[in-house]
Symmetry: C2
Subunit: 118 residues, 2 copies
DNA sequence: ACAATTGGTAAGTCATGACTTACGGTAAGC
DNA sequence: GCTTACCGTAAGTCATGACTTACCAATTGT
């Protein structure tokens, strides 16, 4: 249990690329076809296909064949998983931060007593 | 307002690397020195220094010089920012998902009526 | 059957970045 | 003052991955 970053690993790697985050943002309004997505991006359609592959492998997108087109859509659950990962990080960081604040407060009090004494 | 990914961009890029996420995880319990962090990682100390630079530039970590050592700590606020980004993504994706579910339900109803009729 | 639309795959190029060793610089201890 | 501990930076190597063009497969409509 050193870290449970099996699927989280793929997710972060997928969202690291700006073009892929643009694709994800473009899918916030619902499912879209590959050509449709590529039309709004500064890269070629094959490049978009490759990005969609990465995002799908990471479990972020779902595909559905509709005639000759393939409709890609965001999977809300995957975003929820990422959120949970950050929630844990946030809780721990906050706790550590609070503990450190208390520690510094104690140290300050001690040094003040010391000054008063000397 | 096409996208507000100025700082979010650096954050995602920073967290894309597994070693850097390991560093962040190592800091969940509080501040630690460079050598201390490097001792628990499979890379050299200079490599850790470089990672710490990236994480600090992304606004994820803070540094504090203590004698000859430099203590790095997680900044909770940065994690909170990331969380907000995902919250927006999650809300939109959920709404689109729900809308799509309704659309499919309508389409199914129509096709069933059609079948009944024919 | 055939042409057109749509999109995935292959092969190759090129930039980015993660890592190493070597070095320099600063603060504590003798 | 000199050594020791700690750490950032420089320079160079090497793997990864993002992108391109070219090609191929599948579906739709005439």
């Amino acid at each position: 249990m050193t870290n449970g970053s099996s699927s989280i690993d793929l997710t972060f790697a997928a969202l690291a690329d700006p073009t892929r985050r643009a694709i994800v943002s473009g899918l916030r309004g619902g499912a879209r076809s590959v050509g449709d997505l590529a039309a709004g991006l500064p890269v070629s359609r094959p490049a978009v296909s490759q990005h969609l592959r990465v995002l799908t492998d990471a479990g972020l997108l779902s595909v559905e064949q509709q005639g000759t087109r393939r409709m890609y859509a965001l999977i809300p659950q995957s975003v929820a998983d990422l959120r949970r990962y950050l929630d844990n990080l946030w809780d721990d960081a906050l706790a550590a931060y609070a503990a450190e604040a208390r520690r510094q407060a104690r140290a300050k009090t001690r040094s003040q007593k010391k000054e008063t004494k000397s």
